[in-house]
């Protein structure tokens, strides 16, 4: 039985034709897989590889290089908080603290108990004139303050209707053990294999 739905695999097989060379389809394909599953499991990556007729190790090598591919379960709403210089000068550290408190996690990558939230500290988001900023649900939230963070979090805890129709939260989402997020990912160090993942089924959540 496959991890990815058969219609998604069909869609992935159509991708290579859109590019001058088929290999360019690898990231768009991983995108689709991640959208369906919430994060990229080893099985999903190898199914993507199969559909694109690429080596699974190659596909995993690409996925581990880029920070927007998630190899661990993530919250349905992810805060990508910029902590680079312009945001740091305008209080990004305080914003990180507030997000941690508001969603009840201790470290980047940890998923909140209700499965709704996780956060990451990211590099410059290219919106420095609005510092401090974060990306959340595919939009930028700007001029962040502690009060604004509380509002963003609380709004997403309300009954789902007014935000976007998505499958209900899967509270059985496997969560990384405390401390398993590991040291910050450095591209230079990404030759090594990612940390082992639990075999449990990933949440069926879409990204968007």
């Amino acid at each position: 039985m496959s991890t990815l739905s058969s219609h998604l695999l069909d869609e992935i097989k159509e991708l290579p034709a859109k590019y001058p060379q088929p290999r360019s389809a690898v990231m768009p394909a991983l995108d689709l897989a991640q959208e369906e599953l919430g994060h990229l499991t080893p099985e999903a990556m190898s199914e993507v590889a199969g559909a694109l007729q690429l080596d699974p190790g190659y596909v995993e090598g690409v996925a581990t290089f880029y920070t927007l591919f998630h190899l661990q379960p993530v919250g349905r709403h992810r805060f990508y908080i910029c902590t680079n210089l312009s945001c740091m000068l305008r209080g990004a550290e305080d914003i990180v603290d507030r997000v941690k408190g508001a969603i009840g996690v201790r470290e980047p990558g940890e998923v909140s108990k209700d499965g709704l939230f996780s956060y990451e500290e990211v590099e410059c988001l290219g919106a420095c004139e609005y510092a401090p900023v974060c990306r959340l649900d595919h939009r930028y939230e700007v001029d962040l303050t502690r009060a604004k963070i509380d509002l963003l979090v609380n709004n997403r805890r309300l009954p789902r209707k007014h935000i976007k129709s998505r499958p209900a939260a899967d509270v059985t989402t496997p969560r990384p053990l405390p401390g398993s997020a590991g040291p910050p990912r450095t591209r230079g160090g990404r030759q090594s294999k990612p940390a082992p993942r639990r075999p449990a089924r990933p949440p069926k959540e879409s990204d968007g």
Binding site: V26, M27, C124, G189
Partner: protein, 435 residues
């Protein structure tokens, strides 16, 4: 998004900004948009387009200041098969947000510019590589490209001509190094984004192994104006050697952060104090990065420096990506440098040893210093690491940039470094909250 912060109704790029629904084809066209592309495909030759841009003196706005017309002319004319324009919309340089500002205001301006450039190099397809975090600009570009196809301005017969033109989109997935043009091409080809060694240059062997010119968003967005008004008209603006206008992003400790279109040659004092409102009351500007985090810093005493690119080069720094980061006397230079080194170490693609090892070494040294464990040894270490990162020891500019942050902050603010390392104090009381 919140209200847009920046110039509207400026001289060139921002001329039409502020008009309602400028992002739609109808409004863009009603103001004169697409008249340049129409003229190019129905009346001009590729050589004429390149000549016009050459007369404008336009130089690339992605950071390297390379003359745009020259870059286009390097693409071999008689090469059989496809050639590509690749648009660098990866904007990830800390302090730089101007490409996003352009795209959110006027996506058609980039599409028109990219199509003209594609015609100029004798190609038929432009690929826009846009960073994955730019969701809104991506959606706006996608819709704008669809509009242009519907109108018949892109496609097999743009404006009734027989010269097919298309603009495609490709999303990045979070990696600063993808802004480096050869790493970007690797990424576009579906690989890990590690810079290529040159030669061969992209003009000969670029995207998918074919002749390619890689241009920044702002560079291409300037092209329609040049074609409408003529190269010489554009060249009237700016300085003797650095023509035209550009958009700078001002961020950090200023009262009115934003994206401002400036004529090249104005001073940083004009930008930071007049346009961006200057420092907060009661504070003084201590230091600024004149062109993104990768440009060597200048102290607040040098605000009268001109934005003329050659002038900046003479000072050993650059206008780079146009991102001006301002820091006042309430912040610690050592801590700021430490944060930037963490950025470069995280983003190093790992291909060259000096960059991979040196940047991480610098991070650990800064961590010791900010934990009050610094000494003479740490000062010496930083100097050696900075030297090891610079001067062509690395394959791409990321390594140099990391070295420049250390070297230039140590040169101008030696006192603050010594305060930390030798006396274990910080005059502004910084603590490393997120070591």
């Amino acid at each position: 998004m919140a209200e847009k912060r920046g110039t509207v109704g400026g001289p060139v790029l921002t001329e039409w900004f502020g008009k309602a629904k400028l992002h739609t084809l109808d409004v863009y066209e009603s103001l004169g948009g697409y008249s340049a592309l129409r003229k190019v495909v129905t009346e001009m030759t590729a050589a004429q387009v390149i000549d016009e841009v050459k007369m404008s003196g336009l130089r690339g706005r992605g950071g390297a200041d390379f003359p745009t017309a020259t870059k286009w002319s390097f693409v071999p004319k008689d090469h059989p098969g496809p050639k590509y324009i690749v648009v660098n919309a990866d904007e990830s340089e800390p302090g730089s947000a101007k490409d996003r500002y352009l795209l959110e205001n006027s996506p058609h301006m980039l599409i028109e510019g990219a199509a003209i450039a594609t015609f100029a190099i004798g190609g038929h397809q432009a690929w826009i590589y846009i960073r994955g975090e730019y969701d809104l600009p991506y959606e706006m570009l996608r819709d704008a490209i669809a509009e242009a196809h519907t109108k018949g301005y892109l496609g097999d017969h743009p404006f009734g001509s027989d010269y097919p033109l298309d603009v495609r989109l490709y999303r990045g997935h979070g990696a600063y190094i993808c802004g480096e043009e050869t790493a970007l091409l690797e990424s576009l080809e579906g690989k890990r984004a590690q810079p290529r060694s040159r030669p061969p240059f992209p003009a000969v062997k670029g995207a998918w192994g074919l002749p390619t010119a890689v241009n920044n968003v702002e560079t291409l967005a300037t092209v329609p104006w040049i074609m409408r008004h003529g190269g010489p008209e554009y060249a009237k603006r700016g300085t003797e050697k650095a023509k035209g206008t550009r958009i700078v992003t001002v961020s950090g400790d200023v009262q009115k952060p934003g994206n401002y279109e400036i004529e090249i040659g104005v001073t940083y004092r004009h930008i930071i104090e007049e346009l961006a409102g200057g420092a907060r009351p009661g504070h003084k500007i201590k230091v600024f990065w004149p062109g993104g985090s990768s440009a060597k810093v200048l102290p607040g005493s040098m605000l009268d420096t001109s934005t003329d690119l050659d002038g900046l080069k003479a000072l050993g720094t650059m206008g780079g990506s146009g991102g001006i980061i301002v820091m006042d006397d309430s912040h610690c230079v050592v801590k700021a440098a430490a944060r930037l080194l963490r950025f470069y170490a995280h983003e190093s693609c790992g291909k060259c040893t000096p960059c991979r090892v040196g940047s991480n070494w610098a991070v650990r040294t800064y961590e010791r210093i900010l934990a009050n464990e610094g000494s003479e040894t740490e000062l010496g270490l930083l100097e050696r690491v900075a030297d090891g990162l610079q001067n062509g020891r690395c394959l791409c500019g990321l390594g140099d940039a990391a070295g420049w942050v250390i070297e230039s902050t140590m040169r101008h603010f030696r006192g603050e470094y010594e305060e930390h390392c030798l006396r274990h104090t910080c005059s502004v009381g910084a603590v490393l909250a997120h070591a």
